[in-house]
Amino acid sequence: MLIRDSSYEEAVSAWAAHLRAGGTTPWAAWEAVDAADRGRYLPGAQQLELLRRLNQAGHPSAALADSVLAASAAGRGRPDLELAGAVPESAFGPAPVDPAALPAGELVRVAASLLADQVADAGLPEPEVRRRASWWRRGYRLVGDPELADPLRDQLVARGRPPGGREPRVLVVGSDLATMTAHAWTHRAFTEGVNAWREWLRQLQERREVPARADLLAVCRAWERRVGKARVHVVLDLGAVPRLAGDRRSLAAPEPLAGEAGELARRVGSVLGLLVLPDARETLLTTRLRPRVEQAARSLPRTSALVVPPEARDWVEGAAERMREGIKRAGYAVHGDLDDLVPRWSAPAGTGGGPAPQATLDLAVRVLLDERADVGRTA
């Protein structure tokens, strides 16, 4: 028994069929009530509107369209909503909505759920067989800010220079602490998961903690205990990395990832945590989701880098100054200018609200449309 007006069902089913066929007519302009098969349940406004946005941005496959209509918004938040205008307002349940007016965050909830399904279905990649470092080459380890160290290391590995080797130099790479803090958040979003940007920053500030992955001094001390001070090098000039790692050719500078990319990964990761175990979750986020997000983010002009908000800037500056003094006092070899650890705020003090919901939705739509890219990688 469905407590709902049957003409409402017909209208929604017809609009759903229109969207499934690639239509982009908004609900507010929808008039036709053609007979259309309806599934086991009617999709909510969020699912239907997300499919419309996908149709506006590209050509989703029939399978993707069906999975959007069958999806649920993950996590806590508004339930599946009814569409305004087609049904007499019920005395119960949330008020019907115009789907076009839904907040972007509501659509991202559905998109994150779908992306989590996609990356879980893609499965774990084959483990990479790493070559051993040749004994005559200079050994190195690249540590520090993972958003800088990982892409540089990947390039060196691609050139046949994997990390390790005999008595390796430990290159602790970094940049200013504000950038490294943003990198630490992004990296966590793509690995073990993290709170929203501002909430995470506020917690760090209250605990007076520098994110572990941005704390170059702590990294240096840990490596000093393992290999001795002489082999630990702080590298703030990334151009020096190839030379220190024993390679003559220069390396491409790591591309910064927009805050919205981290936000999308954070949302997908939180759903993925309910689909696979934590180790697999990290691997899937890094190897399946991240390449798709990076590719989609490049083509979106509206995404932007994370900015430390004004209320946290004094704290970041103070921590950066302490880090600079600590490294200087400890006497580690430094490549680059230690003063570069202290941020110079180029963004106006009024910015720093974190990832923009609309830009996050645009990115999610692009990534969803890029479904074939993932199929290709899976094969």
């Binding site: 028994m1 709902r4 086991r40 909510g44 999806a71 649920s72 508004r78 019920s90 759920s113 309910l274």
Partner: protein, 408 residues
């Protein structure tokens, strides 16, 4: 194969934990009567619900992975007649999640599959509203009662608090989602009796709705999810506001929710009880009347009395938990400090015992390292490992001994 599934989907704060405890405690006896309660702990279906609804919940995700499919498979494979699934957060499932749940249990829309009976236990909003706020506070919320009320009375229901509250408390709407594919005679509403009734009345109603009458079940003696009074809830809220950001969820649950709220502060039964502010009474009475009228209209099977859904707002005098008597809060705080001291003393004792055990183990280990034969063997292995020939000899020796793993 299971012929009948009893699906109890809520609502929260209606004696569901008590019911689940009884079902779990009597699992074997129920099995002898052909009834399956597929659980390895009383609230095992919580994880399945998290999985079905894709709800992250304080780090429990790891345990929830695949839990719903495992539960559904166990239900489908049961050799008896009936299986029972019960968890109150299921009330908040979306239409597609409900569709997936029913399908996975073997239910067909044409009625040819397994016979699903939906049970929803319900209680008046006069008691549910303060109880839900208190539950929020026991889950780390620092939100004031006034703000909570403002959120749930906002018609837009845009906030997370409002959308969750109504998704698990608005009875007709829950039944729209869960009951769309079920005939009304298979939808059973169990009403929680008004205060002052016979203590076992709720259990009798559950028993009737679940078809457990005639089975001599062992019942629980104590309430399993006791409530807090006004100063105690105010204290927990203040603790949340102060410690939330520095106390990890994994520590919050045993220390604040269990030790302080459930084991300590809930014993202070003489404190004023949480109630509905007088200004909210007319609006709540109107909602309750609308629920009752709609349920009557739809013709569900009601176990109990629908009038139980009309709450009594004068049962407890209203005391504002946002402005509690400081003397009462101080009294609750002293009890809390005492409990923490005792727990700290117990942990110090445990730490000392473990330290002694560790010292003893270290001592035994170093005695074994000091034996001359160990030193000689260690020296020989190190020496052999330096050369390729030596490593080959070591490998051959290990192979001959039947151990293929390398030494640590």
């Amino acid at each position: 194969m299971t012929r009948k599934v009893i699906l109890h989907v809520g609502t929260p704060k209606t004696g569901t934990s008590y019911l689940q405890h009884v079902l779990f405690k009597n699992k074997r006896l129920l099995g002898e009567h052909g009834i399956l309660y597929p659980a390895d702990r009383f609230d095992a279906h919580f994880l399945a619900a998290l999985d079905l609804m894709r709800l992250p919940w304080g780090g429990l995700e790891r345990e929830a992975v695949g839990a719903w499919d495992r539960l559904a498979a166990e239900v489908r494979d049961w050799g008896g007649t009936t299986a029972v699934i019960s968890h109150e957060i299921l009330a908040g499932a979306s239409r597609s999640q409900v569709g997936r749940a029913l399908e996975s249990l073997g239910h067909q829309r044409d009625g040819s599959g397994v016979e699903v009976h939906l049970v929803l236990s319900v209680r008046d909003l006069v008691r549910q509203i303060p109880a839900e706020w208190q539950e929020n506070v026991k889950h780390r919320s620092g939100m004031s009662y006034a703000r909570f009320l403002a959120r749930i009375t906002d018609p837009a229901r845009n906030s997370r608090i409002a959308s969750w509250f109504w998704s698990v408390q608005e009875v007709p709407e829950i039944l729209d989602r869960w009951g769309a594919d079920l005939p009304p005679e298979r939808i059973h509403l169990v009403t929680v009796p008004s205060p002052g009734g016979a203590p076992d009345l709720l259990w009798k109603r559950f028993s009737q709705a679940f078809g457990l009458e005639g089975i001599d079940l062992v019942l629980e003696d104590e309430r399993v999810n006791p409530s807090l009074g006004v100063p105690e809830t105010a204290l927990i809220r203040r603790i949340n506001r102060s410690a939330n950001r520095v106390l990890e969820p994994a520590d919050y649950r045993p220390l604040v929710r269990e030790l302080l709220a459930h084991q300590t502060l809930s014993r202070r039964v003489l404190s004023p009880r949480l109630a509905l502010p007088p200004a909210q009474v007319p609006w709540v009475a109107e909602r309750e009347a609308a629920f009752v009228a709609e349920i009557e209209r739809r013709g569900y099977d009601v176990v109990g009395d629908l009038d139980d859904l009309r709450g009594n707002p004068t049962l407890h005098p209203y005391v504002d938990p946002d402005k509690p008597r400081e003397r009462d809060v101080a009294g609750a705080a002293v009890d809390a400090i005492k409990a923490l001291l005792l727990e700290n003393a117990r942990m110090r004792g445990e730490e000392a015992r473990l330290q002694a055990e560790l010292d003893e183990t270290r001592h035994a280990l170093s005695r074994s390292y000091l034996r001359p034969s160990y030193r000689a063997r260690e020296k020989a292995v190190k020496g052999l490992a330096r050369s390729r020939v030596g490593r080959g000899l070591l490998g051959a020796y290990r192979l001959a001994r039947g151990r293929s793993s390398r030494s640590a």
